[in-house]
Amino acid sequence: MNKEISISELINQFKESEGKSFTINEQAIIAETVERAANRTTVAITVLSILGGVFATLAFMGFLLLAVHDSEVGLMAFGLLFIIGSVVLNKVYYKTIIDTVSVSAFMIGFCMVGFSLEGFGIDDQLLCLIFIGMATAILVINQTYLLSLLCFLLIFGATFGLLNTNDTLNIFPYLYMVVLASMLTVVALNESKIISYGSKILKLYRPLFLANACALIVLLGFSTMADSYTYTQKIFADYSWIASIVCIIAVLFTISKIKKRYEHEHTILNNGVIYAGTVLALAPTLFAPAISGGLLLILLSYLINNKVSLVLSIVSFIYFISLYYYNLGYTLLTKSIILFVTGLLFLTAYMLFINKVKSHEEI
């Protein structure tokens, strides 16, 4: 674990490294630190807030579905009121204790607006566009963590819905996967650059990364729903290979960045072996982008030390791999040979790796 450093130590370090040109509003930092300390939360409390919000929304949906509502205008008015209420509440009074209420109000509001628009007979594409527009507008006004996370999730989800309703070639989901994987790589590898664009962007960085990772996981999950990965059937049937190639390139790019970050010390394994090994290991999964996508998610989450997305990535990666072999259109014997050989290759790589690390430590 990286060593913990206090905010005052950090400020002193920065003053030293930045020199005279460095200007800082220490009063504001102290005030914010005191305020945040009063609202210091744990993962358990954050999860409780979100789950509370989800369950309250479900109960409200139960009420809404059972109750006879014949006024679309009423639904729309109350829905908008709920959304505006949650945004204003968050903007004016940002405290952890109001998270559950604002999350519930936000989700209930969007559900009511959705029902109302359906009632007005608006088609799905326009509905998705309206949701994207509303979520974007909220992001401009409010940048608190949970609401921004929900807005980004809504934007990613509605974009997927929009592409899906337009899809006749079955190519859009894979192109969207390409966009999400590339975006996640860019976001993860350029944190310092992105948060330097302004204070609003800085606040949005963490929810954006998590929402992007969640959206990619869900989309990769969809891609595993294909019946079989038999090559001859799939080769012209869809465009999953496009997503796989981009994910593999992104994995290689991420590895190169990781290596570069520690190059001033010494590299552990020969470049060629690492890149060739990665490509060889991922090549058989060309028609299953979930594998290379899952690996990319794990690498990026570990790289930027985001524990929530790391846990989600590992769990989904195990699921994707199991599903990949389950769906593979070969006999059990062939599958067993592939698995066994792959396992031995990984164990060999492990032995090579610990030997290299040991020899470097001895030097």
């Binding site: 990286n2 060593k3 913990e4 450093i5 905010i7 950090l10 400020i11 920065f14 490294s17 460095f22 800082i24 509003n25 504001a28 914010e32 945040r36 609202n39 210091r40 939360t41 409390i45 999860v47 409780l48 789950l51 509370g52 919000g53 369950f55 309250a56 109960a59 409200f60 139960g62 009420f63 109750a67 952890t96 204790i97 998270d99 559950t100 209420v101 519930s104 209930i108 310092s192 650059k193 948060i195 330097s196 204070s199 800085l202 520690y262 570990y302 790289l303 930027i304 030390n305 006999t331 014997l333 067993s336 592939i338 066994f340 792959t342 396992g343 790589a349 492990y350 790796f353 690390v357």
Partner: protein, 317 residues
């Protein structure tokens, strides 16, 4: 706490003209995984994939119906693999993590052995005695290794055995009885883990492990009570209610003593869900859903307020 470091860097950045290069350097120094962490991660990643894939390969190999292979050859092959894997634990060059992972692989092979046995003698792949035999025969390794992932596999196996037993042999058991048994079973493991942590301080039990068992226990209590409420409303036995109430009361006492926000959050959330289910069951009017919505949002907010003030007090102590 790297999250605090990131938060501090962000805060300074938003109130200063800190250059991008310095932000990058401070993130690399204090937030991102360093070289040592990457070495640890790559080792664990390659070893997990290696052991996982090899074992899966062996499982699939025996799952293939070998018509030409004599039954003794089949059993002998798995036995040989099992012995070979277990003996490799004595190689001194391996670290204790490596040995534990190999032992976990060997424990899966015990399952393969029982599966092959079941395949030859047609006992069925999901017979409860298959899982029971598997659990019994890895018990010693589980205890000796004290490796949390292996313990988790063991607990899941015992839960599976109990579930299949209730389906295949004791099919006359009521659903609520099955949930009570699952709840008690996981509770025993939880209490054992907690006691072990207190008595034998040299044994390190990771938090994720105790938290997972606590979640499983709360899950069976919550769902069990909901089933009791909706399926046995007229002739409720109240046993699960009573045990859950006592366990949760003790849980709150323990959590406050141990300063654990996690246990308090789990108990509170489970209680809120149980109470909401009770409200919906008792008053079936549509308006009750609306009331439950308000109740959940209000009670969760109240719980969070309490947890936050406790957290603040505990961190300041």
């Amino acid at each position: 706490m790297t999250n605090n470091n990131r938060e501090n860097i962000y805060r300074i950045k938003s109130h200063s003209n800190l250059s991008q290069e310095t932000v990058e350097k401070s993130l690399t120094d204090y937030v991102y995984s360093d070289k040592k962490q990457w070495n640890w991660f790559i080792k664990l990643f390659l070893l997990s994939l290696g052991v996982g894939f090899t074992t899966a390969g062996i499982v699939f190999f025996f799952a293939y119906n070998w018509a030409d292979l004599h039954k003794f050859a089949k059993l002998g092959l798995v036995e040989a693999l099992l012995v070979g894997t277990t003996v490799s634990i004595f190689i001194p060059a391996f670290s204790s993590t490596t040995k534990n992972m190999i032992l976990t692989g060997a424990s899966v092979l015990v399952g393969v052995l029982f599966a092959v046995f079941g395949q030859i003698y047609q006992t069925g792949a999901n017979a409860y005695d298959f899982f029971m035999g598997w659990s019994v025969f890895i018990t010693l390794w589980v205890v000796v290794s004290n490796f949390p992932p292996l313990w988790l596999i063991y607990i899941i196996l015992i839960n599976t055995t109990l579930y299949l037993y209730s389906e295949q042999v004791a099919y006359y058991w009521e659903e609520r009885t099955v949930f009570i048994l699952h709840f008690c079973l996981n509770l025993v493991f939880l209490i054992e883990t907690v006691l072990l942590q207190r008595i034998r301080k040299e044994i390190h039990i990771p938090t994720w492990f105790t938290n997972t068992i606590a979640l499983m226990t709360a899950f069976f209590a919550t769902i069990g009570i909901i089933i009791e409420l909706f399926d046995y409303y007229e002739n409720s036995s109240y046993i699960l209610f009573l045990i859950t109430f006592l366990v949760y009361a003790f849980g709150v006492y323990y959590a406050i003593n141990q300063k654990s926000i996690f246990y308090l959050a789990v108990i509170a959330f489970s209680s809120i869900i149980i109470f909401s289910a009770m409200l919906v069951r008792m008053w079936t009017e549509i308006g009750m859903f609306f009331f439950v919505c308000i109740f959940i949002a209000g009670s969760v907010t109240a719980v969070i307020k309490g947890l936050l003030s406790l957290h603040k007090t505990w961190t300041n102590e």
